[in-house]
């Protein structure tokens, strides 16, 4: 039924459609329970999937990277992958500083992480070249 309607909708103006659906909902979902149940679960599904994928991806990555590094003999770097307390403390320190100076600037999070993001990458190392180029 909905689909049929959707197809038929194609001929109407947006607002007409919106309003027709709205009236429908007023009848069959007057308290929005249905909308809540479905909407909230979809939001969860979406982020849950994202979680699952990156949870496994990062696992794979870490192993993979460490293997590469080990091969290159960069053992200390390899271990660095695990813990970055050094950077993180610096980052936090800076974050706090920013925090107390109340710089309302969305870029803060970037700054706090910057050094971390310079971690080893399997991609072409040329990339780093670019980051320094002067605007």
């Amino acid at each position: 039924m909905f689909i049929a309607q959707a197809l038929q909708n194609a001929s109407d103006s947006t607002s007409t459609i919106v309003h027709r659906n709205s009236e429908l909902f007023m009848k069959i979902d007057p308290y929005g329970i249905g909308m809540t149940v479905m909407g909230y679960s979809v939001v969860f599904i979406a982020l849950l999937l994202l979680y699952v994928i990156f949870y496994n991806l990062s696992k794979a990555m870490t192993l993979n990277i460490r293997r590469i590094l080990r091969k290159e003999g960069k053992t200390e770097e390899a271990n660095k992958i695990e813990e970055i307390s050094g950077e993180i403390n610096a980052a936090i320190a800076y974050a706090i500083y920013l925090y107390f100076n109340e710089l309302h600037d969305k870029e803060n999070p970037i700054i706090t992480i910057n050094r971390v993001s310079k971690a080893y990458t399997p991609w072409s190392s040329k990339i780093y070249g670019l980051r320094q180029y002067p605007r």
């Binding site: 947006t14 659906n21 909407g39 939001v43 979680y51 925090y99 991609w123």
Partner: protein, 387 residues
């Protein structure tokens, strides 16, 4: 000659009739006061000044009384006026995706990637949206309006404006103002709720420092994120597409100059225009309505529900998490994606109970996840009503 004095007197009459004074109403005075309060809070309290200064001054501009019948092309609702042209990007939902492009270019998702399960907190906080939807229906808003209002609970100005422009154009202004006001007030709204819902032991939970995140992960995130989230809710494409596009420009490492402009000149220009026009659209004669009051009440409610929802969700998660992996519920509020304010709140409250327990890094995760969460929620509502 007599004619000429006629002209003078009439001219003065006319001139006076065109000044603000004879056209002023109580509404204008109220709104101008509101505008001044916004500006004061922005400057002296520094509540989201980049939003409140433009909006506040916009409110002043939009509420200078004038003889509307004279078609002087001044008001934002008069075709041909400059404000009317600049308002187009709000009415058609063009500005919000451009803002998201810039936000993507300035957001670092490392915190999220280093501890992916925090993504769920970004989902949890969206309960504020659906809670507000139910309340809105109860107090009598029609469903499409209820949905547009409910999205305020997503704590995302651009998302709110975008959804409202599709579902309830006549309410855009009130919804936007309400959304931005409560985002600015996050440091005031959230702490009491967080303290109410947590016990001392929970507030002291320490989380292990996030791990390093590789460049590859950061490059793959916007790509995988786009495909995955928009495959589930294609109608969130305008927002999430731009958000992830901006983020790829940032992380690719080879498009630095584009990312710099996206998070610099471009987002600044759009911020100026969106703030100014949203503010100006509060023209007293159209803004001061019972609906507006209802919208503000619902907005407050949605933020409270969202914060509580986030905190409680963490407490539930902790029931299933092993010792040492437990999450500090003080970062639950951060799913309310007023980036980075709600994360800062977690940090402050955390420090109040343990001077050495820095939660900021952990709170950034749910914080950015909340942006994605509310965009998805907006997408679902869109497909429900426009489909």
């Amino acid at each position: 000659m007599e004619n000429f004095f006629d002209f003078l007197t009439h001219g003065i009459e006319q001139f006076v009739a065109y000044t603000a004074f004879p056209n002023m109403t109580v509404g204008h005075i109220i709104m101008i006061t509101v505008g001044l309060i916004f500006i004061y809070l922005a400057i002296s309290k520094e509540y989201e000044p980049l939003l409140l200064v433009p909006i506040g001054f916009g409110i002043l501009i939009g509420n200078i009384p004038f003889l509307e019948s004279a078609k002087l092309q001044i008001g934002i609702y008069e075709p041909g006026s400059v404000l009317n042209y600049l308002h187009f990007g709000v009415m058609k939902g063009i500005y919000p995706p451009l803002i998201f492009l810039g936000i993507g270019a300035m957001t670092d998702f490392s915190a999220l990637l280093s501890n992916p399960k925090l993504m769920l907190l970004g989902a949890a906080a969206q309960v504020g949206i659906f809670g507000a939807y139910i309340l809105a229906l109860i107090i009598g808003f029609i469903p499409e309006h209820a949905a547009a209002i409910a999205i305020i609970g997503g704590a995302d100005g651009p998302t709110a404006i975008f959804l409202a422009s599709k579902l309830a154009p006549e309410l855009i202004c009130a919804i936007a103002i309400s959304a931005y006001s409560y985002m600015a007030l996050v440091p005031v709204i959230q702490p009491p709720i967080m303290k109410l819902l947590t016990n001392d032991k929970e507030r002291r939970i320490r989380m292990k420092p996030p791990r390093s995140v590789s460049k590859t992960e950061k490059i793959m995130f916007p790509i995988v994120g786009l495909i995955l989230t928009t495959f589930i809710t294609p109608s969130a494409l305008p927002l999430l597409g731009m958000l992830f596009f901006g983020n790829l420009l940032k992380e690719s490492g080879v498009t630095k100059r584009l990312a710099d402009t996206a998070k610099g000149a471009l987002i600044d220009i759009v911020t100026i225009l969106i703030g100014l026009t949203v503010g100006a659209s509060t023209q007293a004669t159209t803004f001061l309505t019972p609906e507006s009051i209802g919208i503000f009440a619902l907005g407050a409610a949605s933020f409270v529900i969202a914060t509580a929802g986030g905190v409680i969700f963490v407490k539930v998660m902790n029931l299933f998490l092993p010792e040492g992996k437990k999450i500090n519920p003080l970062i639950g509020n951060a799913g309310v994606s007023a980036v980075p304010d709600s994360a800062r709140v977690s940090q402050t409250i955390g420090l109040q109970y343990d001077q050495t327990n820095h939660l900021l890094m952990h709170a950034m995760g749910p914080n950015v996840a909340g942006v994605i969460g509310s965009a998805v929620a907006a997408g679902i509502m869109l497909s429900f009503f426009m489909g």
